[in-house]
């Protein structure tokens, strides 16, 4: 029986601000097997990025993990000291891929310097040893090794994204979290990067969590899909299940709002705005925008119920 690579149970990550407690991630649970790709989708501000940072133990203050557990390879990361997290987990076991087109690379150091850092710190390599590995990695993501001596501002968006991906894979981590990796790229480059991801998934068989607001990307790459809304997972299941048979009204709404080239269906969108995470509505957080809302929805928070094997939905429509 395979122990899952990652098991997140009842994770709560709150921000303690002057305005109040922002419940960015409120009771989130899921599992991830080795080599599996989980796609997490949702609107901006639903807590996806906070979840990603929580997995690395790097929630920026005034936020912190307020409860729950993150078990990676049998070890509960929430119980580890900062020192252990830094030296044993970060980048070695879990690494992160950011939006490369933004400021993820320090502008004053060369690509080589920045890629060498984790190798030198975690593997104790020398600059020259590291250079070989870096060249290898850059080739693997489709970049020429002359990129090494360049500075970030000299690279295009697509090139930077590849560098970020290479950087994340340097130490052969078990789990890679990709947080909106293609958002700032144009469509063509986006397609290239998605192909790269698929290639990596095939070649390295690592566990991946792919976070985005763009459902079409998840459809391309994820084995499992989780839909997040207002800090909670409202639907989770295999990619086929969630896309083929969406149960939660929110998921359905999301899918209906994607324009399809050949379909003649009208695009609809979900009216309203996401709730304030300091004072979320009682009961189901989606009820103000849900067209199926019942009396129960206003009072009781729905729990995740299995509607098909492996397909869970948190909605009062399903028992």
């Amino acid at each position: 029986m395979n122990v899952p690579l990652l098991e997140v149970r009842n994770l709560k990550t709150y921000y303690y601000t002057l305005r109040g407690v922002v419940k960015a991630v409120d009771n989130v649970s899921f599992t991830l097997e080795r080599g599996e790709t989980l796609g997490i989708a949702g609107e901006s501000g639903c807590g996806k990025s906070t979840l990603a940072w929580a997995l690395l133990g790097l929630v920026p203050p005034p936020g912190r993990i307020a409860g729950g557990s993150i078990v990676l390879d049998g070890q509960d990361l929430t119980k580890l000291s900062e020192h252990d997290l830094r030296s044993k987990v970060r980048w070695k076991k879990v690494s992160m891929i950011f939006q490369g087109a933004m400021n993820a690379l320090t502008p004053v150091f060369t690509i080589e310097d920045q890629l060498a850092e984790p190798l030198m710190i975690h593997k104790g390599m020398h600059k020259d040893e590291a250079r070989e590995r870096i060249a290898e990695m850059l080739k693997a993501v489709g970049l020429d090794e002359t990129i090494m001596k360049r500075y970030p501002h000299e690279l295009s968006g697509g090139q930077k994204q590849r560098v970020i991906i290479a950087m994340a894979l340097l130490l052969n981590p078990d789990l890679v979290i990709a947080d909106e990796p293609t958002t700032a790229l144009d469509v063509i480059v986006q397609a290239q990067i998605m192909n790269l991801f698929k290639e990596i998934k095939r070649r390295y068989n690592i566990g991946m969590i792919f976070i985005t607001h763009d459902l079409s990307l998840i459809a391309e790459i994820a084995d499992k899909v989780a839909i997040m809304y207002a800090g909670k997972i409202v639907e989770i299941g295999s990619s086929d299940q969630v896309f083929g048979n969406p149960r939660h009204p929110y998921t359905q709404g999301l899918l209906r709002s994607i324009p399809r080239i050949r379909s003649k269906e009208k695009i609809t969108w979900i009216p309203g705005v996401p709730p304030d995470l300091v004072r979320p509505p009682p009961g189901c957080r989606f009820f103000p925008r849900c067209k199926y809302v019942k009396e129960q929805c206003r009072r009781e928070e729905p729990e995740l119920k299995e509607v098909e094997p492996g397909h869970f939905v948190a909605c009062h429509l399903y028992g």
Binding site: S87, M96, P107, F109, I121, H153, E154
Partner: protein, 364 residues
């Protein structure tokens, strides 16, 4: 490093433009004044030369006397029309030909009586005082700035911010007067007038010379320098710490800092390598600005302490109507100033690869 080279050339070209413009302005302002000045000087030279010739027993005819006068006037540039004269002064300034200007008043420490001698004596003193003070401030500023940036909003942070705000409104020279009242008048542990350093040094030179003299002159300089140095640091460190703190805070919100942490780098590396290094370009700009500001305050501060530097020289020259020294001092100040700016621009390019011109850049 092609980008660096191009940047450097551009910066130097810029600097030259500023220098020429400044020299033009200064020369224009002074030509009127210096006319009287130089005519008087010409007369002195003329009389001196005539006397020397007469002592040798040479008799001079009217024509020959005229000739001598003409030569002197020509050498001093008095024969030329005003615009040409302006250009000549500009040229002299740019080529540092200050030996031509006489120094009227007595300037402590000057070894001769031309403007050049005066500047040569005063310039090192100013550099010694203000460079040391600036370096100390930078060090304190980086340390305090980083600490308070990490715990932004904390007690230390608010104290530093308040100190910075107060320091921004304090006239440095007034604080100097207060320091003198406390340490010189009340406590008697500091000298009232730093210019007395020369009399102490003269005394020393009567006993020792050569290498020993240089060694023993160090504590003497320190004795006179510590109070102005302390004053400058006290008034300036808050601003430095606050500016650095602001820059560091804004850098710390950048994505790459989170990335560095995610990479498992120790916090110290994140702070001193990634954050500080990325923060240093704007810090360099700030220091350029602060040096600009301090050059002015230097004049008054030096006057309050009677510190024998460029500032005080400027002031004494002004009071005595010593135009030659004034032009020289002003121009040298502008020159120094421009050199520093160019240097800082260059350092900026060194630290921040994004501003180097001639490099391929941007998204494709």
């Amino acid at each position: 490093m092609a980008g660096l080279g191009v940047t450097a050339v551009k910066a130097i070209a810029n600097a030259l433009i500023v220098l020429i413009v400044a020299a033009l302005i200064i020369s224009t302002v002074f030509v009127e004044q210096s006319e009287q000045e130089l005519k008087g000087y010409a007369l002195e030279l003329f009389q001196a030369r005539v006397r020397a010739l007469q002592m040798k027993g040479i008799k001079l005819t009217e024509a020959q006397l005229q000739q001598i006068n003409m030569t002197i006037w020509r050498d001093l540039g008095l024969l030329e029309p005003v615009p040409v004269r302006i250009l000549r002064f500009t040229l002299w300034s740019i080529t540092f030909n200050f030996g031509m200007f006489p120094a009227k008043a007595h300037y402590a420490g000057a070894l001769g009586n031309t403007a050049k001698d005066v500047i040569l004596a005063a310039l090192p003193n100013t550099i010694m005082l203000f460079t040391t003070a600036t370096l100390i401030c930078i060090l304190i500023g980086i340390f305090l700035g980083l600490q308070t940036a990490r715990k932004a909003g904390g007690l230390a942070d608010r104290i530093i911010s308040t100190i910075a705000m107060i320091s921004a409104s304090l006239p440095m020279w007034w604080v100097g007067m207060l320091m003198l009242l406390i340490f010189a008048f009340d406590l008697g542990i500091a000298p009232f007038a730093c210019i007395d350093v020369y009399s102490d040094l003269a005394q020393l030179s009567r006993h020792v010379s050569g290498f020993l003299y240089w060694i023993y002159s160090i504590p003497i300089w320190l004795k006179y320098m510590w109070l102005p140095l302390l004053t400058i640091v006290i008034v300036s460190f808050g601003g430095w710490a606050y500016t650095i703190r602001n820059v560091v805070i804004s850098v710390m919100t950048e994505d790459f800092v989170h990335v560095a942490r995610a990479k498992g780098l120790p916090e110290r590396t994140v702070l001193y390598k990634h954050v500080l290094r990325s923060a240093s370009p704007p810090i360099v700009t700030m220091s350029a600005l602060s040096i600009v500001g301090s050059l002015g305050g230097a004049i008054i501060t030096e006057t309050v302490f009677s510190w024998p530097g460029m500032g005080r020289t400027f002031w004494v020259a002004l009071q005595n109507g010593d135009t030659g020294v004034l032009i020289a001092a002003t121009y040298v100040t502008v020159f120094l100033f421009v050199v520093i700016i160019v240097l800082l621009d260059f350092i900026y390019a060194l630290l921040d690869p994004r501003v180097r011109t001639g490099m391929a850049g941007g998204a494709r």
